[in-house]
Symmetry: C2
Subunit: 218 residues, 2 copies
DNA sequence: CTTCATTTGCACAGTGCTGTGCAATCTCGT
DNA sequence: ACGAGATTGCACAGCACTGTGCAAATGAAG
């Protein structure tokens, strides 16, 4: 994106963005992002060429929209972090009971599981940005806070400190996404199962967990 | 390892191996493997050069012991799989109660957590051998079998099918290793906490889980 | 001190990726 | 059908890594 053409391209798109109609470049950019999500989910080390081809476009075109691979992945993770944070927050807003809070936010995050999965997958490779872990900390801390309250009130029972339990929460979610991916778990019931599992992992009796989640997915 | 020198080197080592005293090459080879474990734990994409330097040796020397990067990683994962399988099997041998089985094997695997962590870390990057997942399946299936029995007998309570629960088990273990690594969890108590968490995640009441594990770590 | 195994240093070819430049081409709206 | 915006095709430089060959240095053990 050093070419004069390409900066001009951006300016043009800017203009189109103020009006409601997305330019051709806009829809392509969107398509690239979407495909990149899928492709990076399959292989977190996917090259620009793989992504471009998967998007039905030439590598050079991708560089027309994103100055570098890092920028592309960056935009993607930004979007994902925003989505996850929003889902997580929406799930727990105005709820006092920690168990219900945990269940609701689990169900909410489950709706955008793919975004979350990308983040975890990228975060656990040391190379591709430990910055992801940083950007996810607000979410993790909110989660840890719920767990802390639950442990304090005795709603949750676990020998683990809240923050460690948050790690477990995160990885468990990830495990269940993989399970769905590998057809070990039906996608429809997966959300509820995930929520129940989160609760029991936190130390809520299985019966109470099942009951609570059943109530929430009325 | 195409050089004539190097095949000769191997023959020499073979000879030394039959006698009890390890040759210089043997101890270096061992050192390289150990350092590689640590290095790959830190960065699963660590290059041959990184590993060599960390082992206090030149890249060329590593190629003297392992014909390719894949061979090095292969030997490492072979060892790790063997260790994990052994620990897992030792933990559950002669035990009938699924809960105790699960707790014991968790405690046993925890002892060699680093090897296990390497395997999980390598397995979840699509590039570096999905073969690891394959080689781990015996262990996972043994684990799933315990879970299946527990669910059947009502010792465990979970909406998840056994195999999915095994995924959760695996990732939870991983999460706790990370927690220890990040100093969120004291290393001494980590094993017991892990065992308790495994049990509660499977749906065992927290009180019973704590009690059982306490009994085991007499 | 000699000998043999081992390690080193360097040079090299090969591969696959990133990012860039530029001219040609396509595809819209108007 | 015109022209701006977007995409393509190729060519290139650069980088990091893998594996290999060979001659020289090092080390240990006799």
């Amino acid at each position: 994106m050093t070419t004069g053409q390409e900066v001009a391209r951006r300016a043009g798109r800017m203009a189109a963005m103020t009006t409601g109609n997305p330019s051709r470049a806009d829809v392509n950019r969107r398509r690239i992002l979407d495909v990149a999500l899928a492709e990076l989910l399959r292989d977190p080390d996917a090259s620009m060429d793989q992504i471009a081809r998967a998007a039905g476009v030439v590598r050079r075109t991708v560089y027309g929209h994103f100055p570098s691979r890092e920028a592309l992945v960056g935009t993607l993770t930004d979007e994902a972090v925003a989505a996850v944070a929003a889902a997580h927050a929406a799930g727990r807003e105005g709820v006092v009971d920690p168990a219900e809070s945990l269940a609701r936010s689990t169900l909410a995050v489950w709706e955008i599981a793919d975004r979350y999965r990308l983040l975890v997958a990228l975060a656990q490779r040391s190379v591709t940005m430990q910055g992801i872990r940083e950007r996810l900390t607000p979410v993790r801390e909110a989660c840890a806070e719920i767990l802390r309250r639950g442990l304090e009130q005795g709603v949750f029972a676990s020998p683990l400190p809240p923050y460690a339990l948050a790690y477990v929460h995160e990885q468990t979610l990830f495990a269940l996404m993989e399970a769905v991916n590998d057809d070990l778990l039906a996608a429809e019931e997966a959300g509820s199962s995930a929520a129940v599992t989160m609760l029991t992992a936190a130390g809520v009796p299985a019966s109470r967990a099942t009951e609570l989640v059943a109530k929430l997915s009325d």
